[in-house]
Amino acid sequence: MSTESIAIEKERKPLFTSKDRKLITDPLNDDNPITVQVLGICSALAVTVQVKPALFMCFGVIFVVAMGNFVISLIRNFIPSRVRIIVQLVVVAALVTVVDQALKAYAYDVSKELSVFVGLIITNCIVMGRLEAFALANKPGPSVLDGIGNGLGYSLILVAVAVVRELLGSGSILGFPILGQWALDLGYKHNGFFVLPPMALIMVGIIIWIQRSKNQKLIEAN
C-alpha cells in the first residue's frame, strides 16, 4: 500500500497543480488499487458478471471513497488516533447506507443483483486504505481528488473485467446482444466459465500480467 503523504504548500496555487493531477492519474495505472495494491478483490470477483451492476458498484465506490476521504480529512485534526478506525467506520457506514438506500429507491433491480456487496463496500479495503493512508494526513481538496482517483482506478479494472465476462459469458454488453443469435447459429456457444467467479480472478491476473509487462515502473528488479 502506498503511504505517501503529500505536503501541501502554503502559498496560493492554481486550481489543479501537477501534484493534484497525479492524485487522479496515479491510481489509474502505477498505483492501481486492484492490480498493484491488490485491494478490493472480493467485490471485483462478485459483481463483474455483467457490466451494468459493475458500473453501479463503481459509482458507489467512487462516491464512498471520495466523500469518506473528504469527511475524514475535514475532521482529521479532531480524531483521537486511538479511536480513528471506529470513526472511519461510522463515516463509511453512513455513506454506504446512503448509496444502498438510493439504489433501492431508484434502481431496485440492480440493488437486488448487487445484494450484499453494496453493504460490503464498508469492508472494501480500498476505502479504509485511502482513509488511513491519505485522508488522515491531507487537506480535504486533495483528499477528494485522491478518493476519486482511487475509485476510478478500481472502476477501470472492474469495468474491463465485466466487459470481457459479459461478452464471452453471455454474449452481450450492458444487455445489448453482441454475440447474439447470429453467432449461435454459426455454432458458437457462450462460455459458461466466464460467468463463474474463478474466471474473474483469472481476468484480474491477466490484466496484472499485461500491465506489468508494459509498465516499466512495476517491473521488479531481480
Partner: protein, 401 residues
C-alpha cells in the same frame, strides 16, 4: 537417418549465435533434439548423462497411450454403428473412429505446440516437450464429437493459464490436460455431459431402447444394474462388466478401455516412468472409500451410486485413465515416495466421494486430481519436515544418550 542428420547440421549455423534466424533458435533446437539425442556434455566433473532425456521420456508415455488411443478409435466407430443400428466391417468401424478422433489429436497438438513455440520464441527459452504428452492426453479425455473450436479454446487456455504463466514446462501446478478438460467442462457443460455427446454422429436415427448415457450416469439411477448402453443391450451383468473392461461402452475417447489403460500402465511401470506407488494407492483409495460408502447403501436407497460394488469405480469412467496417466504426471504429483502414497490414496478417496455423493459430477476423478495437484507441495512439505524432525531426534539421542 544420414541425410536427415546432414540437413540438421547444414542449417544449424543459420540459427546459431550470429546466424540470420537466431531468433528462431528455440524452434530449431526443439526439432533437432527431437530427432537426435543431443550431445551436450556436463560442464563440471564427470557425470554420466543418461540418453533418456525429457523428450525420450515423453515418447515412452505416448507409446503407453497408443493402446488406449487405438481402442478408443475403434470404440468410437463401434458405438456409432451400434447406435444407428447398422452392421459394419471391422475396418469401416475403425476408419470411422479414426476419422472422428484424428482431427481432435491434430488440433490439440497444432494449437498447443503453436502456443508453446510462440512463448519460447518471445522468451528466448528452449522449447520443452511437455506438451507432447498433454497434446495426446487432451483428445483422449474428450467426447468424440467435441467441436474443434472448443478444443482450440480449451488448449490455448490450458497452455497459457495452466502452464506458461507459471514459467512453462515443469513449473505448472495443475496438470495441463486436466486444466483443458476442466475448462471445457465448466465452459461448455452442455457439450461435455448429459446423454447426447458420448456417441459420435447419431442425430435422430437411433435404434430402439437407445440410451446415450455413460455407465456412471446410469449407476446413479440403477445401482449398478445396466441392461443397455448406446445401441447395445447386455444379456447379463457379466457381459456389461466385460464390455466396460475392454472398453466397448460410450464415453470419452480414451478412457473407456480399462484393458488398454492397464497395458499402458504396464509400459509405464516397466520403463520406470510412471510411479507404481501412485497408481496403486489411487486404486486402493478408491476401493477403500467405495467399500466405506457401500456400507451406507441400505440407509440411503435413493442414491444408486452407494449400492454399486466398489470395484466398479475402477472400471468405469475416467478413474483408471486418471490414475495411470494423469495422477502420475511427475510435475504435478508429490515428489517424495511416502508423499506419493498419501497423494494417490487421497485422489482415489476424493474421486469416489465426488462421484457418489454428487452424481451431477461424474468427473470426480478430474476434480480429485486437480485438487490434489494443488495439495501435492503441502504433502511434500510435511513429509520432508517429518524426515528432518526424525533425524534431529536421532542426533539428539546420540549426543545426549
Amino acid at each position: 537417418m544420414k541425410p536427415l542428420k546432414r540437413l540438421v547440421e547444414n542449417v544449424e549455423p543459420h540459427f546459431a549465435e550470429g546466424g540470420k534466424w537466431r531468433k528462431y533458435w528455440p524452434l530449431f533446437d526443439g526439432f533437432a533434439t527431437f530427432l537426435f539425442t543431443p550431445g551436450h556434455p556436463t560442464h563440471k566433473g564427470a557425470h554420466i548423462r543418461d540418453g533418456i532425456d525429457l523428450k525420450r521420456t515423453m515418447s515412452m508415455v505416448i507409446l503407453a497411450m497408443v493402446p488406449a488411443l487405438l481402442l478408443g478409435m475403434y470404440n468410437v466407430g463401434y458405438q456409432h454403428f451400434l447406435a444407428i443400428g447398422e452392421q459394419a466391417a471391422f475396418l469401416d468401424i475403425f476408419l470411422y473412429g479414426m476419422w472422428k478422433v484424428l482431427p481432435l489429436v491434430i488440433v490439440s497438438y497444432g494449437v498447443g505446440l503453436g502456443v508453446e513455440f510462440v512463448f519460447c520464441i518471445i522468451k528466448g527459452h528452449q522449447i520443452n516437450e511437455g506438451f507432447l504428452v498433454s497434446g495426446m492426453l487432451i483428445p483422449l479425455v474428450c467426447p468424440p464429437d467435441l467441436p474443434l473450436w472448443m478444443l482450440t479454446v480449451a488448449v490455448i487456455f490450458a497452455v497459457v493459464i495452466g502452464k506458461e504463466v507459471f514459467g512453462g514446462t515443469g513449473m505448472n501446478i495443475l496438470n495441463v490436460a486436466l486444466t483443458a478438460r476442466a475448462f471445457l467442462f465448466f465452459a461448455y457443460p452442455a457439450d461435455l455431459s448429459g446423454d447426447k455427446v458420448w456417441i459420435s454422429g447419431v442425430g435422430d436415427k437411433v435404434v430402439n431402447g437407445y440410451t446415450g448415457e455413460t455407465a456412471l450416469a446410469q449407476f446413479a439411477k440403477t445401482g449398478g444394474e445396466v441392461a443397455g448402453m448406446g445401441g447395445q443391450s447386455f444379456a447379463s451383468q457379466a457381459d456389461f462388466l466385460w464390455a466396460g473392461f475392454i472398453g466397448l461402452i460410450p464415453g470419452s475417447v480414451g478412457e473407456t478401455s480399462t484393458l488398454a489403460i492397464l497395458i499402458g500402465a504396464a509400459i509405464l511401470i516397466f520403463t520406470g516412468i510412471g510411479s507404481w506407488r501412485i497408481m496403486a494407492s489411487v486404486a486402493l483409495g478408491g476401493l477403500a472409500m467405495g467399500y466405506l460408502l457401500n456400507g451406507f447403501s441400505g440407509s440411503f436407497p435413493d442414491n444408486g451410486y452407494l449400492a454399486i460394488p466398489p470395484y466398479y469405480h475402477l472400471i468405469f469412467g475416467g478413474f483408471a485413465f486418471g490414475a495411470v496417466f494423469m495422477a502420475t504426471d511427475p510435475v504435478t504429483a508429490s515428489q517424495t515416495p511416502s508423499g506419493k502414497y498419501i497423494y494417490g490414496f487421497l485422489i482415489g478417496v476424493l474421486a469416489v466421494i465426488i462421484r457418489v455423493l454428487n452424481p451431477a459430477y461424474p468427473e470426480g476423478m478430474m476434480l480429485a486430481i486437480l485438487f490434489m495437484n494443488v495439495m501435492a507441495p503441502l504433502i511434500d512439505h510435511f513429509v520432508v519436515q517429518g524426515n528432518i524432525n526424525r533425524r534431529l531426534k536421532r542426533v539428539k539421542l546420540a549426543t545426549h544418550g
